[in-house]
Amino acid sequence: MLDRCIRGGLAALFAAAIGWVPTLAWGQTKNATEVSFYYPVAVGGPITKIVDGLAADFEKENPGIKLKPIYSGSYQDSITKALTAAKSGEPPVTSILLSTDMYTLIDEDAIQPYDDLIKTPEDKAWLKSFYPAFMENSQTGGKTWGIPFQRSTIVLYYNKEMFKEAGLDPNRPPATWKEMTEYAQKLTKRDASGKVTQWGVQIPSSGFPYWLFQGLAIENGATLMNAAGTQTFYDKPEVVGALQYWVDLVNKYKVHPEGIVDWGATPKDFFEKKVAMVWTTTGNLTSMRNNAKFDFGVAMLPSGKQRGSPTGGGNFYLFKKSTPAQREAAFKFIKWVTQPSRAAQWGIDTGYVAVRADAWETPAMKQYVAGFPPALVARDQLPYAKAELSTHDNQRVTKALNDGLQAALTGTKTPEQAMKDAQAQSERILRTYRR
């Protein structure tokens, strides 16, 4: 029996080794131009199906091009995989990656700007049609490196039934920090033993707390970095002030859960009626709609000194080392998928903000918005939206901020100390980029 096993094993070894070669070759179709791209899934819903559907529709209209969407997990996973592929000499042709990864991708010499491809007047008009807020993280040094596709802002979801119970007007979400604190105090419920059964407000702090924090920072009148991505301002008083407000919600007003609040669990916490108000991406809108078994509202983030939210989400990037044919094909696809009607449909299917103004005027979008007004909130917030934190060596610099935020929220450092340390770390990293 064992020698049969060994023989079988050797056979399998050979088969596998031989099978590997055709598998590699299988990917290349002879006649069509192949355009591979990585895409992350960062919001709820059957995104993979939708993307595959888009690819199929595009291929029908463009028979010479073969699209190969590759699902690559979270945004973090996607940038890792795309860079890994680029460094190994086999980059994808295009990919949807975080808008903030722009500098990293440029430094790693992985992407090329779109300017060479944008020649005709139609193309130029197409480029101008995107919301300026989204273009802030997409252009630098006078060149366009990313095309907005799945972009978002943070919004406040609130449970209307809980508002009614607490004696608040369900159609009047909090408009200022003061109101949010007051509402949250009314909405926090405790049982007989003093344990909280319902929290007033919850801002997630796991994974990428810097994004949520940036909302608070902008509202407090602060900017976190300079436009060139070579300097951060973590220890400015307005930034520390914003962090202090967050920490106060936990410790002083006791309306916010302690410790690190999980990003992934936050929508579920909302569905489970454990919290009355949550800050999370507008990209979760469709998922919220499908899963919340109660009446809920969507609001812009409250204003501190001003309204504000960072933009978020992913852009299409064009990778180097592709053939001119592939580049043209990818560009065609990118233009096709960001047409007003397609951009609108993507927004409806997912909850991401349709990236261009005319997408909101399409009949499909108008009908959707009529039936579901909360979808407009994210768009109406765009005038107040600012660029997301993005610098050279982005992952490391944001990690410094993330660590500092988590230290303050878990009480191991004061907001001032945490931000000072974060700034010191960031300085060390960015120093070399200012020479």
Binding site: L2, A16, W20, L24, Y71, A265, K268
Partner: protein
């Protein structure tokens, strides 16, 4: 297995307490799996609520199956594990035979070098091995996942011990009959080491089926991704966590190993014990 009651076993109340303790621990130990079963077979609303009247559903499995190309992931994993095991069996047998029965200069030094890998597994050398794989050109391939593991120090160590325990007389008898050393290996040593092979195979298969970090780094595309990486990519959501779908996906990926284990658990455990570590 001892047939008589061990003279030191507790009786009466002591025994009852011990039994209770053992059972509580056992229950705690399977609790995560029980939870996974509960959540995967019930709709999402019941992933945190344990109402007994909740309706059963297979929806989650369907969604999970469609959300990621698990069929391909399974194929990759099976190919990878088989490839690695086959290579390991061959290589470790040859090497163990050499260490056990042959005299050659530097034998002890080489054996010490082999033992180094017991401590320093390819897992901790991810940065360098990744570089090597790039140079060889095996990045993002199934062979690339398995290659660093094919020369297994653990296997060589185990087999060498087993081979050393084979009586020399059998070896000499075969030689007298005119067998070449390789024939002796095949006819005498290999059959006698069967329990060790089985034990080792089980360890290897479960280790490589469950391996995650190295495959995560070395694979990029669906064509090479094993099931563990597929599961993590699938559940690494920036979106809201849906426990029902994630546990359904988890059960899907662990089912083959779990079922094999349930069916063959006697052999699993026995072979570990028989091979024993002296």
């Amino acid at each position: 297995m001892s047939a008589t009651l061990n003279v030191f076993e507790s009786r009466g109340l002591g025994r009852a307490l011990e039994t209770a303790g053992a059972w509580v621990l056992g229950f705690l130990w399977v609790l995560p799996l029980l939870y996974a079963f509960w959540t995967a077979f019930h709709p999402a609303e019941f992933s945190a609520r344990f109402a007994l009247s909740a309706p059963l559903t297979l929806e989650n499995f369907v969604s999970a199956w469609h959300a990621a190309p698990f069929a391909r992931y399974f194929l990759n994993t099976v190919l990878m594990v088989t490839m690695v095991l086959a290579a390991q069996l061959v290589l470790t047998t040859l090497a163990a035979y050499a260490f056990a029965r042959f005299e050659f200069p530097g034998r002890n030094v080489l054996f010490a070098l082999v033992l180094v890998q017991l401590m320093v597994m390819p897992d901790v050398l991810i940065v360098e091995n990744y570089r090597t794989m790039t140079v060889i050109g095996l990045k993002d391939t199934i062979l690339g996942i398995g290659l660093p593991y094919m020369a297994s120090a653990f296997g060589i160590f185990l087999l060498r011990q087993t081979f050393k325990g084979v009586p020399r007389e059998l070896d000499e008898a075969a030689r007298v009959e005119g067998c070449t050393p390789l024939q002796v290996l095949w006819k005498v040593y290999v059959p006698l080491a069967r329990p060790t092979y089985l034990a080792y195979a089980l360890v290897s298969v479960s280790y490589h089926w469950n391996n995650f970090l190295w495959p995560l780094i070395i694979t990029n595309s669906v064509e090479a991704r094993p099931v563990t990486v597929g599961l993590q990519v699938f559940s690494a959501t920036d979106q809201g966590i849906d426990w029902s779908i994630i546990t359904a996906g988890t059960l899907l990926t662990t089912a083959p190993l779990l079922i094999a284990f349930l069916l063959f658990q006697r052999q699993f455990v026995q072979s570990f014990m028989r091979a024993g570590i002296r």
